[in-house]
């Protein structure tokens, strides 16, 4: 490597700015698409998983002895694992109206999902909402007190809900209200949504730490979550593969065309006495340079694109995939170099005189 080399390299890049830009743009586009896809793919499990966790709990913990779980134990369960995505407590029991026993469910009413509510959900401590079946059976009216028997409590019905389950025949109220009405000091059940990959481990840890608790996985939810996440991941993987493959091919033909275009230059250099090795080196260096510039720009753009996609689709940003950066970088350079290599080698095989005379591609 002497000054001649760097002089040529510099001239190559600056005088043929257009060509250089096109090559590095092609690399950039490929790297952008692949980086964006890989980044989104790596984050999709988390994003989609947290969407699914809004479905509700996939694990339910109760006391085998039929007692309540203390607030302290509930808190311990929550912090038992970092994979706990959703956590809530519920209290169950029955209360009497004039002639019937009515089921009561006390729960955390912040962020209520899976209910269609007519009226408004209960907020204050003496409010409750009734399921539509209960409403029809007892002829309940909104904003009127619930006909409690044998209690001085006044419970105001704030609205009615539809859930599509047996809960429609129950009264739903804030956890504290239920605890007071039913005379409970703790909670009847702890509901969790745990990352499906960590469910087995959590079950073991919880059972080991609290042997008197029954830890049950709600297979309806867990199995379905897992299936869906698997399919989506596979889909993303295939999409990434398809896009990468086609981008590489398109990129390859661009780079190839770049070199073919300059066969005359190669011929000229050879007839002037340049060693084949040097010439190869020059072209490869140019390709690597274009590849580097394109890769860096592509990675940045790809990352921005991934964040834009993630924010639009999921309302959250996706974390940087540390693997994507170096991977994209190396790939960009490798592809640029590889696709430049073969045309150069072919060009070298030809007789300079032939090329210079104008029998191109002979």
């Amino acid at each position: 490597m002497n000054t001649w080399f760097f002089y040529f390299l510099k001239k190559s890049v600056f005088q043929r700015r257009g060509r250089f830009l096109i090559s590095s743009s092609a690399v950039m586009l490929t790297v952008t698409a692949v980086t964006a896809l890989v980044t989104v793919s790596s984050g999709i499990r988390d994003k989609l998983g947290s969407q699914l966790s809004r479905y509700g709990a996939n694990m339910i913990i109760t006391d085998t002895r039929g007692r309540t779980i203390s607030e302290k134990t509930a808190g311990d369960l929550r912090t038992l694992s970092a994979d706990v995505r959703e956590f809530s407590c519920q209290a169950y029991g029955t209360i009497r109206t004039g002639t019937d026993d009515v089921e009561v469910i006390g729960k955390d009413l912040g962020g209520l999902s899976g209910y269609r509510i007519h009226g408004r959900p209960p907020e204050a401590v003496n409010e409750a909402m009734a399921g539509v079946s209960l409403r029809d059976a007892l002829g309940l009216k909104e904003k009127e007190p619930f006909p409690l028997a044998g209690s001085k409590e006044i419970l105001t019905i704030t609205g009615f809900f539809e859930r599509g389950s047996d809960e429609d025949a129950a009264l739903v109220m804030p956890l504290a209200t239920a605890q007071r009405l039913l005379g409970l000091s703790g909670v009847s059940a702890v509901l969790l949504n745990v990352d499906t990959r960590a469910i087995g481990g959590f079950e073991q840890a919880a059972s080991a730490r609290f042997p008197h608790l029954r830890v049950k996985t709600l297979r309806q939810v867990a199995a379905a979550e897992e299936r869906l996440l698997d399919k989506v991941r596979l889909l993303m993987l295939l999409m990434t593969a398809v896009v990468s493959f086609s981008s590489v091919i398109a990129l390859g033909s661009t780079m190839g065309a770049t070199v073919i275009e300059r066969m005359e230059e190669v011929a000229l250099m050879r007839s002037l006495g340049a060693a084949p090795g040097r010439i190869r080196c020059l072209f490869l260096s140019e390709a690597v340079l274009a590849g580097t510039a394109g890769s860096v720009a592509g990675y940045v753009l790809g990352f921005i694109a991934a964040e834009a996609v993630s924010k639009t689709a999921f309302g959250e940003f996706v974390s940087i995939s540390l693997a994507a950066g170096p991977l994209a970088f190396v790939c960009g350079i490798l592809i640029a170099a590889t696709t430049a290599y073969f045309p150069v080698r072919n060009a070298m095989k030809l007789m300079p005189a032939k090329i210079l005379r104008g029998n191109q591609g002979a």
């Binding site: 079946s133 539809e162 859930r163 599509g164 309806q220 091919i249």
Partner: protein, 409 residues
């Protein structure tokens, strides 16, 4: 003269043309595949989400002021057929599972009657509709076999453990003896019940043709604000639009109409999650498709530009021989059209294979093909080829033949 030049340019540039056609074909394959995927992803994921369980439940209407401890109410088993034969959205009904829940007066154990791979013959359809809890609740597991005769039942896992029952033992229900053909594991309250075929339970407890609830698994359109409106407050036009869109609420309403004395509700936890997930995924795939398409078409364009920029000498010669601006434009455009058509066709065919593979690998079913994509993608390919040719054409038209032929640029 012009035609000769066009023909010659193809013949002489075989290799280069092949490269460009490949690039366009690959780009078109990608575009067609991604577009097919975006269009079908909603339907595929919708089907996948059915494994979350029933999204509609039909229950007997609660008689006003009847109190909770009133007479048990039932629906008619014969009305179930109408959900697949009559309603507007019958093709969206994927699976149906009726249940009859009775409490055994002697033992106090709840007994559940339901369908498992039950064949429903639908008038006008060649194949029977096979449905049951295996379709609606795929997480229910049988260890053993489903009752083959009306002298067999399943026992829920927790119940079996509690009373010490295993497969092949005998259990009593409704005053009769049954052989336990299997243990049922659901992870829900059915684990505490004795479960048998619907007909068996109906006969044993003297409730022929009756069911307590019907669970329905339907393909629905994600809800939007208009769908949440109370139908009673809608205008005629709004009502028609709502009724004819496959919202979970409108399908539920139509099911309610064919079951006398019923009220049908969406199972809101399932329905809500479904809508949310579908919306998100659709958007995600659309965005990624747009991104990939943009990148791919730009890359293909650069390929074209690169391939053609090097032919300035050729253009100079053409001009020296007498071709004018219009001719050079025509020659290059003709090339672009041929490349676009050839590449577009090849790409579309490639995409058919690709979407087939992706569909089968991920969803176990081929993606729905949209024939309109063929002309659409071919036109796109030609357009991209033309874009890729535009720059060189501009440059070509500016060339001074003498300068180039002498070796300048």
């Amino acid at each position: 003269m012009l035609l000769t030049l066009i023909k010659k340019s193809f013949v002489n540039q075989k290799k280069a043309m092949a490269v460009m056609i490949i690039a366009v074909a690959v780009g078109t394959a990608l575009a067609a595949s991604l577009l097919t995927l975006s269009l079908d992803i909603s339907a595929k994921v919708s089907k996948e989400l059915r494994s979350f369980g029933a999204n509609i439940v039909i229950r007997p209407k609660v008689a006003a002021l009847a109190g909770l401890a009133g007479q048990p109410r039932y629906l008619r088993e014969e009305d179930i057929l109408k959900s697949k034969a009559l309603i507007f959205w019958r093709h969206n009904i994927v699976a149906v599972s009726p249940v009859l829940l009775v409490k055994d007066p002697d033992t106090g154990i709840p007994v559940l009657g339901t369908w498992y791979r039950h064949s429903l013959v639908i008038p006008g359809e060649q194949l029977p509709f096979v449905t049951g809890f295996d379709s609606v609740m795929p997480w229910w597991r049988i260890y053993g076999t489903w009752p083959a005769t009306n002298r067999e039942v399943l026992v829920g896992g927790m119940l079996a453990e509690r009373i010490g029952i295993a497969v092949s033992d005998t259990v009593t229900a409704g005053g009769r003896q049954f052989r336990v053909s299997g243990i049922l594991n659901t992870g829900g309250k059915e684990d505490e019940m004795i479960v048998g075929d619907l007909q068996t339970v109906q006969t044993v407890f003297g409730l022929p043709g009756k069911v307590s609830q019907v669970f329905v698994s339907a393909l629905t359109t994600p809800m939007d604000d208009s769908a949440y409106k109370d139908p009673k407050t809608m205008t005629q036009k709004e009502y028609e639009k709502w009724y004819c869109t496959g919202y979970v609420t409108s399908i539920a309403k139509q099911l309610e109409e064919v079951f006398p004395g019923s009220f049908a509700s969406p199972v809101w936890p399932v329905a809500e999650t479904e809508g949310l997930v579908l919306d998100r995924l659709e958007l995600l795939v659309a965005l990624l498709t747009a991104l990939s398409l943009l990148a791919a078409s730009l890359t293909v364009s650069t390929t074209m530009i690169m391939s053609l920029l090097r032919r300035t000498k050729e253009v100079a010669l053409m001009k020296a021989v007498g071709a004018d601006r219009r001719d050079t434009a025509l020659i290059f455009s003709a090339e672009a059209v041929v490349i676009g058509l050839a590449g577009g066709l090849a790409g579309y065919l490639l995409s058919l294979g690709l979407t087939d593979y992706i569909g089968r690998e991920v969803f176990g079913a081929a993606l729905e093909q949209h024939e309109v994509l063929f002309p659409a993608c071919t036109v796109l390919a030609v357009l991209i080829a033309m874009v890729g040719v535009f720059l060189p054409i501009r440059k070509a038209q500016q060339i001074m033949p003498a300068v180039v032929l002498k070796g300048g640029e």
